[in-house]
């Protein structure tokens, strides 16, 4: 069996996934499992079998919502949310095809907001996300309702020195 991928993953984060005995608790309680192509324990098995391409190109690693239900339920305390983080980072580094481009676009826009102002401007985030994914029709009605109800801050809030913040943060990766 090809152990290279397994070792690569373990070296980037923790290797708690080695103790998975496939009890299926993780997928059983996962609120987003229906959108995953592989259940969380299957991803672990695929890592162990060296199926790098299939793992890094899977939907599962992008769909994981980070609610910690799996970790809370796992009899072996396998830190699946953090494993999913590691796999996403690897997928980005390797430049593989991302099957959930909308989710990646959302994360990127969010971090662009943070890097520009030190804080997130929700209205700006939504507009830029809609532009990036060309999905203007979706949720327009709810967006307008929120706006009319005064649920959004209409002018962005910033840290005291956004330029310095951006320079420091941008230079650190």
């Amino acid at each position: 069996m090809n152990r290279e991928f397994q070792e690569q993953v373990a070296s980037k984060g923790d290797n708690s996934f080695a103790s998975c005995f496939h009890c299926l608790s993780c997928g059983a309680g996962c609120p987003a499992v229906e959108l995953m192509d592989w259940r969380p324990n299957q991803v672990i098995r695929m890592i162990q079998r060296g199926m790098k391409k299939e793992v890094l190109e899977s939907r599962t690693i992008w769909i994981c919502i980070g609610c910690f239900n799996c970790l809370d339920q796992c009899p072996n305390r396998v830190d699946i949310p953090s494993l999913m983080d590691t796999l996403r980072h690897m997928a980005i580094e390797e430049g593989v095809r991302v099957p959930e481009p909308g989710i990646l676009a959302f994360h990127k826009e969010f971090l662009r907001q943070v890097s520009n102002r030190g804080r997130v401007f929700e209205v700006g985030l939504m507009m830029r996300y809609k532009l990036a994914t060309r999905s203007f029709s979706q949720d327009m009605g709810t967006g307008v309702r929120m706006m009319l109800k005064g649920r959004f801050q209409l002018t962005p809030s910033r840290v005291e020195n956004p330029r310095e913040f951006k320079e420091k943060l941008g230079g650190s990766s």
Binding site: F68, D139, K149, R151
Partner: protein, 294 residues
């Protein structure tokens, strides 16, 4: 709650506060109602100056290092001001601050890189704390200021959501122990506190924008279960849950969703209550006026 959560300054209790981005925008009702309720119960809340975003889900998801760097900046601001406990209203902000602190304290090399970037390493002098315990404690201490029985007829499905429901070692957040105090408070107000089955289920807020059909299904089920158990409202403790439970609510038979802090504001008869309630997407006013609560 532990008494040391609060510092006493000239007889007044002061608590340092990290707002976070949602609380200043879509979760404004939670922040505004918290601030008024806290001041009503004699807590002085000081906002952490120059706070920045904790990075939320996106940072640790796609730029692992920023997932540590962004919360660390806030921990360092607090440490430099001698703040021992930094309170958050948002469970997600809490977990990010806690996680970054744990990881940096355990990894000297990474902490050194933090020092190179922000000018100081995290020393662990500031501990993140969640708002619920300290607020419940002052509310129970001054429970005589709240009219007994004022919530008669209110049948509450408390919704804790994901982060408040985990074991403490998972998220650093103890969402279980405040529940007894919450029960005591609701008993005094004679609200019914229901067990309904989905109080600890994730609402899908993290994918509410990118996978709306998923959160719609999860949220519909939450409203449905609560209604089936006889609830006439949901009560939440998280700005992201609130937004999602209202925004993705089924078009028919949606229950009003109240922040716990709004509930306290109503109980205390605070003046801006109607203003916050007016910003809700599922109007809670018909229910509250029908029960002569607000």
């Amino acid at each position: 709650m532990k008494a040391q959560t609060l510092r006493a300054v000239d007889g007044e209790r002061v608590i340092s506060f990290y707002p976070g981005c949602s609380l200043t925008s879509s979760g404004r009702e939670m922040m505004e109602s918290y601030l008024e309720v806290a001041s009503f119960f004699g807590l002085r809340v000081q906002t952490l100056e120059d706070w920045s975003c904790c990075g939320s889900t996106p940072a640790h998801s796609i730029r692992g290092w920023w997932g540590l760097v962004l919360p660390a900046r806030n921990l360092l601001l607090a440490e430099s001001r001698g703040i021992e406990e930094l309170m958050t209203l948002c469970p997600s902000c809490f977990v990010r601050l806690w996680d970054s602190r744990e990881k940096l304290l355990a990894d000297e090399q990474k902490n050194k890189r933090i020092q190179d970037l922000w000018g100081a390493a995290v020393r662990g002098h500031t501990r993140p704390v969640f708002f619920l315990e300290s607020l419940l404690a002052v509310a129970l201490e001054k429970v005589e200021t709240l009219a007994p029985g004022s919530f008669r007829g209110l049948r509450i499905a408390p919704y804790y959501g994901c982060l408040l429901s985990r074991q403490r070692w998972v998220t650093g957040l103890d969402g279980h122990s405040p529940r007894t105090a919450l029960g005591d408070l609701l008993k005094r107000l004679e609200a019914q506190d229901l067990k309904w089955g989905l109080e600890e289920q994730c609402c899908g807020a993290g994918l509410a924008v990118t996978k709306p059909e998923l959160s719609q299904r999860l949220v519909a089920r939450i409203h449905q279960y609560a209604r089936r158990a006889g609830a006439n409202c949901l009560v939440v403790f998280c700005p992201l849950c609130h937004m999602n439970l209202e925004l993705r609510a089924p078009s028919q038979e949606a229950l009003p969703v109240l922040y716990f802090t709004e509930l306290l504001a109503i109980a205390a008869g605070l003046p801006h209550t109607q203003h916050w309630l007016g910003r809700h997407l599922v109007d809670p006013k018909p229910l509250l006026s029908q029960l002569r609560i607000a």
